[in-house]
């Protein structure tokens, strides 16, 4: 899992560096593009992902104490906050589409849609992983056994959060 996480981090690093270089070459376009984004939705999504990661962290602590059902419920909470993130992101996309803004509008929006949609796919995959480990925890499959599967799933989710922590100021604030 760690090699997979490192590979994902590298791909996103290339995206982020590419975004920064493009911005330096098109300062006015990127400034106008950022002004058209809904900053509050970026803020809500950041807090939703941070809180989701917090729940996963508590869930890991619970499974370490053999409280499998509590761990599964905490993962359910984490998925709830991830759903807030997904809902806000989809609303944000449709809000831009209504303004006539698409992936073809300009370089800023091409990169904006590519990077955020790629991140959204990671959130969706992360939710599938969280569902899988929550189900396994609820069924008692981690009782007295190795927790490496659970830990790997949790680490993947924290990576998704870590990426958004960098993405948020880069696209919405700076």
């Amino acid at each position: 899992m760690w090699f997979f996480i490192l590979a994902e981090l590298t791909v996103f690093a290339i995206f982020f560096i590419g975004f920064a270089i493009s911005e330096q070459q098109n300062l006015e376009m990127f400034s106008q593009g950022k002004a058209q984004l809904h900053q509050l939705s970026g803020l809500i999504n950041t807090i939703a992902l941070i809180t989701s990661s917090y729940f996963v962290s508590l869930s890991l602590a619970a499974i370490h104490k053999q409280a499998a059902n509590k761990a599964a419920l905490l993962l359910l909470g984490a998925k709830g906050f991830a759903l807030i993130y997904i809902s806000v992101k989809i609303w944000e996309y449709f809000s831009l589409f209504e303004q006539g803004i698409t992936i073809e509008t300009n370089t800023f929006f091409t990169l904006y849609f590519l990077i955020t949609a790629f991140h959204l796919m990671h959130v969706l995959l992360g939710m599938v992983i969280l569902t899988f480990i929550a189900k396994a925890a609820w069924q008692g499959k981690y009782q007295g056994k190795s927790l490496s599967g659970f830990e790997a799933g949790a680490s993947y989710w924290h990576m998704v959060d870590l990426l958004w922590i960098i993405l948020f100021p880069l696209i919405y604030v700076i």
Partner: protein, 84 residues
């Protein structure tokens, strides 16, 4: 209990730093200054996620250093691009 306290403190730090980041363009007029401040906050937030949420503080040193170097090097590269 310690894990709960640590995670909760870290979550609060992350939320407060996120809110602070939003206000940089308003309270700091110079672009280069708020870029540096925002990227320093990225490093602090990343360290919280790596050490507290991912629990890498107690993991093999190699993986922790690898992740920490990512969250330091990437904002550093981005700041060099923006400030050039």
């Amino acid at each position: 209990m310690l894990a709960f306290r640590l995670a909760t403190t870290s979550w609060l730090v992350l939320v407060v730093l996120t809110l602070v980041t939003m206000y940089f363009p308003i309270i700091i007029s110079e672009r280069s200054a708020y870029i540096i401040c925002a990227l320093i906050i990225v490093v602090i937030k990343g360290q919280q996620i790596v050490d507290v949420f991912m629990e890498l503080k107690s993991a093999p040193r190699f993986w922790r250093l690898l992740l920490l170097s990512y969250i330091v090097m990437l904002p550093l590269i981005i700041s060099v691009i923006y400030l050039n």
